[in-house]
């Protein structure tokens, strides 16, 4: 505690501040072009994929009701959840690797928040005009003209948002049927909710929240500084060059409203809009490009050449992330490629330990839960081994339709006197008659009463 001091004057300050509207200036250049390429790539994929057909059904459909995820020829069941975990781990390490090498690449080019903000900004520019026109419009009183422009903008935003929500739900419920229902205003309550919810999230985040999402909501933005080091490429201002003409273009184009000349700031999403803007200005004043550029801290302070920067690429941190990334990606692809589209669970009947049947044979009863996760039907043969003379006393051929499950009660018999009383390990094998590679085994226990 400080000693008692005479309080002179006091003021009441707010601990919460209103957002200040940012009107980024439109920018053209190679990095903006790369971003637009990412926008087209991701959005053609996102909006288009639900409409692709495969084998007479939707190619990509996450059918939550039937608990089956269709991905072209691949059908994933709840038991395959491990693959989703694998995919998430691959994505995470992919991000770590890219971030260590080149900073917030994901944020600047591919993140949905960036992509949709870019689309919404484009609409805003077409309707309300460029940066200065939008700032003027902001200050104007509410005239009919302003009302018209704002209304048109929000209508256009709303249309894109609704289409986005519709496409999103189209991944979970057949999109053609969804389209018919939407046109007839007969969507189910949950479909309607998710279309509207996702549309609202798109509209709110890309139209209103924008950089606030990156600054205050995104967890990835907060922890990625842990992956940065002095050799990570970041959007940097080369103060030592002394070429800045104070045109403030880099500030005007910044979607998060910062001044890159003050160094690396947590708000910077690495979109490189300031690089494009500065390069075009440098071209006009006949100075070399790259006053603002992708550079590492070491490169800036040591005046390194591009080759010197590249030489630091293979440092332990990058090698570590890279090894983990490629190892997991290889294991994932291998596991997926070698996956047998047939699953088996064996449940022993608990009601009876074992029983003696007419001819003195010892009998145990099992329930075989057979899952044909392939797309077409198969005829399977059941087989049991592990204990001498063990045989199946029922029909040993089972037919299962594509992507279906069946519980088959099976009696296993063992001749008396061939094994001691107590429990014996046995093994069930289910194999497809038409495809020898379709074959799974599962352990079980055979009990001979003492």
């Amino acid at each position: 505690m400080n000693g008692p001091e005479p309080v002179l004057k006091e003021a009441v300050i707010r601990m919460y501040a209103a957002r200040e509207e940012i009107h980024p200036r439109e920018v053209k250049g190679r990095y903006a072009a790369s971003r637009w390429a990412c926008v087209w790539l991701t959005q053609v994929l996102f909006y288009g994929l639900p409409w692709v057909r495969w084998n007479g059904r939707q190619a990509v459909l996450f059918d939550l009701g039937a608990r089956k995820f269709h991905l072209f020829g691949l059908v994933l069941w709840p038991q395959d959840f491990i693959y989703l975990a694998g995919l998430l781990i691959i994505c995470a390490y992919g991000l770590f690797l890219v971030t260590t090498v080149a900073g917030r690449m994901w944020c600047g080019y591919a993140c949905p928040q960036t992509v949709y903000t870019e689309i919404f900004l484009w609409i805003e520019r077409r309707i309300e005009g460029n940066r200065s026109a939008r700032i003027r419009l902001d200050r104007q009183p509410w005239t009919a003209q302003k009302l018209g422009k704002r209304g048109a903008k929000h209508l256009a935003w709303g249309a894109v948002a609704l289409w986005t929500g519709f496409s999103f739900v189209g991944y979970f419920t057949p999109v053609r049927q969804l389209g018919h229902e939407a046109l007839g205003f007969s969507l189910g309550p949950w479909e309607a909710f998710w279309v509207l919810f996702y549309a609202f999230a798109t509209y709110g985040n890309a139209g209103w929240m924008r950089e606030q999402v990156c600054k205050y909501m995104c967890p990835y933005a907060r922890f990625q500084s842990a992956m940065f080091d002095r050799d990570t490429l970041i959007v940097s201002y080369d103060a030592a060059r002394g070429d800045c003409i104070d045109c403030s273009m880099c500030v005007q184009v910044c979607p998060t409203g910062i001044d890159i000349r003050r160094g690396l700031q947590y708000e910077c999403i690495g979109c490189a809009a300031c690089i494009d803007a500065c390069d075009s200005v440098m071209d006009k004043v006949n100075k070399p490009r790259g006053l603002i550029r992708y550079a590492t801290e070491n490169a800036l302070s040591g005046g390194w050449s591009a080759a010197q920067v590249r030489r630091r690429l293979l440092r332990p941190r990058v090698i570590g992330y890279g090894l983990v990334f490629f190892a997991i990606a290889a294991a994932f692809s291998g596991a997926l490629a070698l996956r047998t589209p047939l699953k088996l669970d064996v449940i022993r009947d608990r009601g009876a330990m074992g029983r003696e049947v007419d001819d003195g044979m010892i009998e145990n009863v099992y329930r075989l839960q057979i899952m044909n996760t392939a797309e077409r039907e198969h005829l399977y043969r059941l087989h049991v081994d592990g204990i001498a003379t063990a045989s199946i006393a029922d029909e040993d051929l089972v037919e299962l339709a594509g992507a279906s499950t069946r519980a088959v009660p099976v009696r296993v018999r063992v001749q008396p006197g061939r094994a001691a009383g107590g429990s014996h390990p046995i093994r069930f094998t289910v194999s497809a008659l038409d495809d020898p590679s379709l074959r799974v085994s599962e352990k079980a226990v055979f009990i001979i009463p003492k």
Binding site: R14, A17, G351
Partner: protein, 311 residues
């Protein structure tokens, strides 16, 4: 009925909940403003005025205002939730939501979804249903879900639980009787007969006689002594020991034993009696499922496609 044994706990919960929500609101409001000194430049200082360890000062970096709005929204949500749903002591909420009601809603939905399918089968004769492959698959799944715990996945039963794949029926094997058994359940009772028969020796003699009825090895002398004593059993099992399906009294001549056919087990059955219950499934499953199940169980011991069955 109140969830609490005393009205005190109701108010205890209400008070904690209301004070908790109000406390959050007050905290939010009181912490959204702060008094700071005016600096020498005439502007409010950039710090909150909190200083630790002599020179560690807390900067005032304002949070976004919409964030505060979200906090207030959680309070609004809490109030709306507590008005609509149970949560405030024993207050039931305006919507009258109950966890049991949510379950019943799902059951009603499932019945509405699958009802027409079972209604279709309900209009058909059970033997006809037994010929329907789809009904057979449904019946098999229902059986594995509800019946296999006692009768076994293969329906061959267990000690005390009848084998459903043989031709031997305690109450009769006609499809309609099987359905009645499923719907209403059965309560098979054999009273302890030791005292009625007399001494332990009499019980043993009768047991040997009963074994002889099925052609099992038995002491001829004991059989001879047991035979006249069997009269006490004939009331239910009949003089010929063929049983009585009306009572569920088993046929004792067919080598099928519910509890076991050794002399010791039969003596135990005679001395202590047997009490056997098949629960009534009618209310739980509904008639449609019982109908399909009866067809499945009947088909375990009959060929539904045989000419005499297809009449």
């Amino acid at each position: 009925m109140s969830d609490f044994t005393s009205g005190f706990w109701n108010w205890y919960i209400v008070l904690i909940t209301v004070l908790g929500i109000a406390g959050c609101a007050i905290l939010l409001w009181s912490q959204s403003k702060h008094k700071v000194r005016i600096g020498e430049d005439g502007q409010p200082e950039k710090t909150t005025g909190h200083v630790w360890d002599e020179d560690l000062t807390e900067l005032n970096t304002p949070m976004p205002r919409w964030w505060m709005g979200l906090f207030y929204l959680t309070i609004v949500f809490a109030v709306v939730y507590l008005v609509l749903y149970p949560g405030l002591g024993s207050y039931a909420g305006k919507l009258g939501w109950k966890s049991g009601g949510a379950y019943q809603l799902e059951v009603r939905q499932a019945n509405a979804d699958y009802g027409p399918l079972f209604d279709k089968y309900l209009k058909q004769d059970i033997k006809m249903v037994a010929r329907d492959p789809q009904a057979h698959a449904i019946g098999e799944r229902l059986f594995l879900n509800y019946c296999a715990q006692c009768h076994g996945s293969d329906a061959r039963g267990n000690k005390g639980y009848p084998n459903l794949t043989d031709k031997d029926w305690l109450y009769g094997g006609e499809p309609s009787v099987i359905k009645e058994t499923i719907m209403k359940g059965r309560n098979g009772q054999m009273p302890p007969m030791g005292a009625a028969l007399g001494s332990d020796r009499d019980v043993e003699n009768v047991a040997h006689y009963v074994r002889s009825l099925s052609g099992l090895t038995a002491d001829p002398v004991k059989v001879a002594f047991g035979k006249p004593k069997f009269g006490a059993c004939a009331a239910c099992h009949g003089l010929e020991a063929h049983g009585n399906p009306a009572l569920g009294a088993p046929n004792l001549t067919d080598k099928v034993w519910l509890y076991g056919g050794s002399a010791e087990t039969i003596m135990e059955t005679i001395r202590k009696g047997r009490n056997n219950t098949m629960p009534a499934w009618g209310e739980f499953l509904g008639e449609g499922k019982a109908h399909v199940l009866a067809a499945y169980v009947w088909s375990l011991s009959n060929d539904p496609n045989a000419p005499e069955a297809a009449k």
